[in-house]
Amino acid sequence: MTATTENPETEEVQEEYADHLSPANYWGIALFLAVVTAVEVAITYIPDFDGTVLVVSLLVLGAVKFLTVVAFFMHLKYEPFTMNFMFYFGLLGALALFIAVLLAFEALFDSF
C-alpha cells in the first residue's frame, strides 16, 4: 500500500501492455482481413448469389471483420471484463434499438 513507488503506472503499464501478439501475427490477421474483403466484393458480382443469401453472407463477413479488428487490433480480447462489457453492451444495444426503429418504419426488410 505504499505510495512511494516512483512510477506505479509504469510497472502496471509494463504488465498490462505485454503484447500477446507479435508483428507476424498482425500481418497474418491483416492478410485474413484482406482476403475476407476480397471475398465480399467478389460475391456481389456473382449473379446467382443474391437476395437473402447475399445479405446474410455480407453481414456475416462484415461482422467477422468487425469483431476481428475489435478483438485483436483493439486488444479487447485481452482486456478486463469491464471494458468488454461497455463495448458489447453498446454494440448489442445499438443493434437492438436500430432494428426496432427500422421495424417501426417497416423499413427493415425494404432497405436490403
Binding site: M1, A3, T4, T5, E6, N7, T10, M86, L97, A104
Partner: protein
C-alpha cells in the same frame, strides 16, 4: 517519512487560494465545480420558475391577454428546456460532482480538467440558449422541438435551441465518461461496487444512460440543423423525408433522459431515509438492481410518447407492455424505501420531510404514468394537461423534492453551516401545498379536455376554476422558493456550524470535515461493508439495536489537528474554460453564416489553442501535471508553499507522491 513526498509541502489553503474569481474559473477541484454547478442551477431554476409564473398568469383566466401567443410559445419552450437541461441535470451534476468521489473514498474524479470543461460547457450552453432572448427571440418549438416545425429556417430561434442542446450534450457526455471511469477505477480499497452508496450507483447508471442516449439526439440535432441551414431533406415530407424519424431519435434520448432526471433524486432519497430511520436501506441490492433495470428498460419504451403518431397496433402494444413493465422495478424501490422506514427510529428534520414527500408525490406521478401505458387511454390523454400533471408530479414532486432533500442534507457539509430547520420546514410545507395546489387540478383539466401548449382558452369550457387554482398554487410555490433562498443566504452567513457528522450519518462523506479539506481524506479509508462508517461507530446488542462503540472514526482532517497534509493535487488550469469559450464562439459564428465564418474561424483558433495547451500542459510541465507520470515535481503552480508542515501520525498509504 519525508521521502514519501517529493512535492514541496502544499497546505490545503495554498493549493487553491480560496479567494479570487481566477481561482474559481481555473479550478479543477470537484468540490468547487460542484458548488458552481449548484449555484448556476439554482439561478436557472429561478429563471425557469419565472417563466412558469408568466404561463400561469396568462392562463389564470380565460382569454388571457398578458402575453402574446408568440411570447407564450417561447415561455413554455424555455420553461421546459431550462428546467430539464439547465436545472435538474446540472444540479444532479452538482451533487454527483461533490459527493461521488468522497462517497467512494477518492480525492477527485478521474479527469479533473475534463470535469471543469463539462461545467464551463454547461454555462456556455445555458448562456447561449438564453442569449437568444436578445437576438431574435427565445426558442419556440417546445422543449421537444418536433420537426417539421423545428426545421423551418425562417427564424433563427430554433438554431439557438439546436446548437445549445448540442453543446450541453457534449458537456453531459464528457461528464458521463468521467464518472463511469471514476466509479470503475478510483474506489477506495475494500469499496467493491456493492459496497458503494446507492447515490453513487445511481450516478453510474445515469452516466451510462447519458453515454448511450445523447448520441442519438445528437444525430437528430445535426439533421435538424442541416435541414435548417443547408437544405438537407431529412424531415421534408415532400421529398421523401419523414418527420417521425425526429420523434424516434428524440425520444430514444428523451425517455432515458427522464430516468436521468429522476435517478439521482432516487439516490439521494436512498441515503436520506436510512439516516433518519437509523436503519440500513431495506434491500440494498434490490434497490441497486431496480435502478439499473429502470435505466435499461428505459431504452425500450420511448415510443410511448408517440402513441398518437400512427405507429400501428403491433408497435403500440409492444411499447405499452414495456411501459407497464417499468412500473415493476420502480415499485420495488418504493416498497424498499417504505421498508426502510418501517420499524425505524424515525426523526423528521427537513431533509427527511422532503424525502418522504418525494416517495408520496412520486408514487402519485407514477400512477398517472401507468395510466399512460394503456394505449387507448393515452390516446385521449396525450397532449392534454393530464400529461402535464403526470410529469410535474414525477419531476417536481419527485426530482425537485429529492433535490431539496439533498440540499438540506448536505448543505452543512458543503458550506460548514447548517440550513435553518424552522425556515426549512416552512419551505417544505409551503412547497408541498403549493405544488399540489398547482398540479393536482391539472389531472382534472386534462381529463376535461384542456390541451397543452395553448396560450388562451375560451370562456365556458369548464376550465376556469381549476386554472385559477393552479395559478394561485404556483405563487405559493414561488413563495416557498423565496423562503428557501432566504434560508440559504442567511445560513451561509450565520447558520449553525455543522461539524463533521451532524446527522449521525452512514456514508463516507460524514467522516470528513465540513467542508472537506482540499484533498478530501487525510487517510484513504479502507472499507469493509456497506455503510462502513456506521459500523465503525455502532455495534449491536442482543436485540440488534445499535450500540455506540468507543471510537471516533472520523478522518484525521476532521479532527482537531495541528498537522497539515502533504498531497499533490491537480493544478488549476484555464484551458477548460478557454475550450468552452472557443466552442461557443464557433456556435455563435454558425448562426450568421456567411458573415459568421470569421467568427467561426476565431472560435476554432481558440479551440486549437486550448486543446494544444491542455495536451501539452502535461508534457512541458510534468511538475504541474496530474497525468499519473512519475518524475520530478516542482512548485511552479504552488504559490506560497512555504508553510510549515507537520505530518500527522498515522498518515501513510494515503499520501500522494506518485504524481
Amino acid at each position: 517519512m519525508a521521502t514519501i513526498v517529493e512535492t514541496p509541502p502544499v497546505s490545503p489553503a495554498a493549493a487553491e487560494p480560496k479567494g479570487g474569481l481566477w481561482a474559481w474559473v481555473t479550478s479543477v477541484d470537484h468540490k468547487k465545480i460542484g458548488i458552481m454547478y449548484g449555484i448556476a442551477a439554482i439561478v436557472f431554476f429561478v429563471i425557469g420558475g419565472i417563466e412558469a409564473l408568466f404561463i400561469r398568469l396568462q392562463l389564470a383566466v380565460p382569454d388571457g391577454t398578458l402575453v402574446s401567443e408568440d411570447a407564450f410559445n417561447q415561455l413554455f419552450t424555455m420553461h421546459g428546456t431550462t428546467m430539464v437541461f439547465l436545472f435538474v441535470m446540472p444540479i444532479a451534476a452538482a451533487f454527483g460532482n461533490y459527493f461521488v468521489p468522497i462517497m467512494i473514498g477518492a480525492r477527485d474524479v478521474a479527469f479533473p480538467r475534463l470535469n471543469a470543461l463539462s461545467f464551463w460547457l454547461f454555462i456556455s450552453g445555458g448562456v447561449f440558449i438564453s442569449s437568444s432572448f436578445f437576438l431574435g427571440g427565445l426558442p419556440d418549438g417546445a422543449w421537444v422541438g418536433y420537426s417539421p416545425l423545428s426545421a423551418q429556417p425562417e427564424v433563427i430561434r430554433m438554431d439557438f435551441w439546436v446548437l445549445g442542446l448540442a453543446i450541453l450534450g457534449v458537456a453531459s457526455l464528457l461528464g458521463a465518461v468521467n464518472f463511469i471511469t471514476t466509479i470503475f477505477t478510483m474506489r477506495a480499497p475494500g469499496m467493491t461496487l456493492f459496497r458503494m452508496p446507492v447515490f453513487a450507483w445511481m450516478q453510474l447508471v445515469v452516466a451510462f444512460l447519458l453515454a448511450f442516449s445523447l448520441p442519438l439526439v445528437t444525430v437528430g440535432l445535426f439533421q435538424v440543423l442541416f435541414d435548417r441551414n443547408f437544405g438537407t431533406l431529412f424531415y421534408d415530407a415532400a421529398s421523401g423525408g419523414d418527420p417521425i424519424l425526429w420523434q424516434h431519435l428524440f425520444w430514444l434520448f428523451g425517455h432515458p433522459e427522464v430516468y436521468i432526471l429522476i435517478l439521482p433524486a432516487m439516490g439521494i432519497v436512498s441515503e436520506v431515509l436510512p439516516t433518519f430511520s437509523r436503519k440500513p436501506l431495506f434491500g440494498y441490492q434490490f434497490v441497486v438492481f431496480a435502478g439499473a433495470a429502470i435505466g435499461f428498460l428505459g431504452f425500450g419504451v420511448w415510443a410511448h410518447h408517440m402513441f398518437t403518431a400512427g405507429l400501428g397496433p403491433v408497435a403500440e402494444t409492444a411499447f405499452g407492455l414495456m411501459t407497464m413493465t417499468i412500473a415493476v422495478p420502480t415499485g420495488i424501490k418504493i416498497f424498499n424505501w417504505v421498508g426502510t422506514m418501517w420499524g425505524g427510529n424515525i426523526s423528521f428534520p427537513t431533509p427527511m420531510l422532503f424525502a418522504i414527500g418525494f416517495v408520496a408525490m412520486f408514487t402519485i406521478g407514477g400512477l398517472s404514468g401507468v395510466t399512460h401505458s394503456i394505449v387507448p387511454a393515452d390516446t385521449q390523454q396525450h397532449d392534454s394537461y393530464y400529461v402535464v400533471a403526470h410529469f410535474h408530479y414525477v419531476l417536481f414532486g419527485g426530482a425537485v423534492f429529492g433535490i431539496f432533500s439533498g440540499v438540506y442534507y448536505w448543505f452543512g457539509k458543503v458550506f460548514g453551516r447548517q440550513l435553518n430547520e424552522r425556515i426549512g420546514k416552512l419551505h417544505f410545507w409551503l412547497m408541498l401545498i403549493g405544488f399540489n395546489l398547482t398540479f393536482a387540478p391539472m389531472h382534472i383539466l386534462g381529463l376535461n379536455g384542456m390541451p397543452r401548449r395553448i396560450a388562451t382558452y375560451g370562456d365556458g369550457l369548464g376550465w376556469n376554476y381549476w386554472n385559477f387554482v393552479a395559478t394561485v398554487g404556483s405563487f405559493v410555490i414561488a413563495l416557498s422558493i423565496l423562503v428557501f433562498l432566504i434560508n440559504a443566504i442567511r445560513s451561509y452567513r450565520k447558520g449553525e456550524p455543522a461539524g463533521a457528522d451532524p446527522w449521525d450519518g452512514r456514508t463516507l462523506e460524514w467522516t470528513t470535515s465540513s467542508p472537506p479539506a482540499n484533498y478530501n481524506f487525510a487517510e484513504v479509508p479502507i472499507v469493509e461493508a456497506v455503510d462502513d462508517f456506521w459500523y465503525k461507530k455502532y455495534g449491536e446488542d442482543e436485540d440488534h439495536m445499535p450500540v455506540r462503540l468507543d471510537t471516533n472514526p472520523l478522518d484525521p482532517s476532521a479532527l482537531d489537528d495541528d498537522g497539515e497534509f502533504h498531497v499533490h493535487l491537480p493544478s488549476p488550469s484555464y484551458f477548460p474554460i478557454l475550450l468552452a469559450l472557443g466552442i461557443v464562439t464557433v456556435a455563435y459564428g454558425f448562426l450568421w453564416i456567411p458573415v459568421g465564418f470569421a467568427v467561426m474561424a476565431l472560435g476554432l483558433g481558440i479551440m486549437l489553442w486550448a486543446i494544444f495547451g491542455w495536451a501539452l500542459e502535461d508534457i512541458d510541465h510534468p511538475m504541474g501535471g496530474d497525468d499519473g507520470q512519475g518524475g520530478g515535481h516542482g512548485d511552479d503552480d504552488d504559490p506560497g508553499s512555504e508553510v510549515s508542515e507537520q505530518v500527522p501520525a498515522g498518515i501513510g498509504a494515503g499520501s500522494g507522491g506518485g504524481e
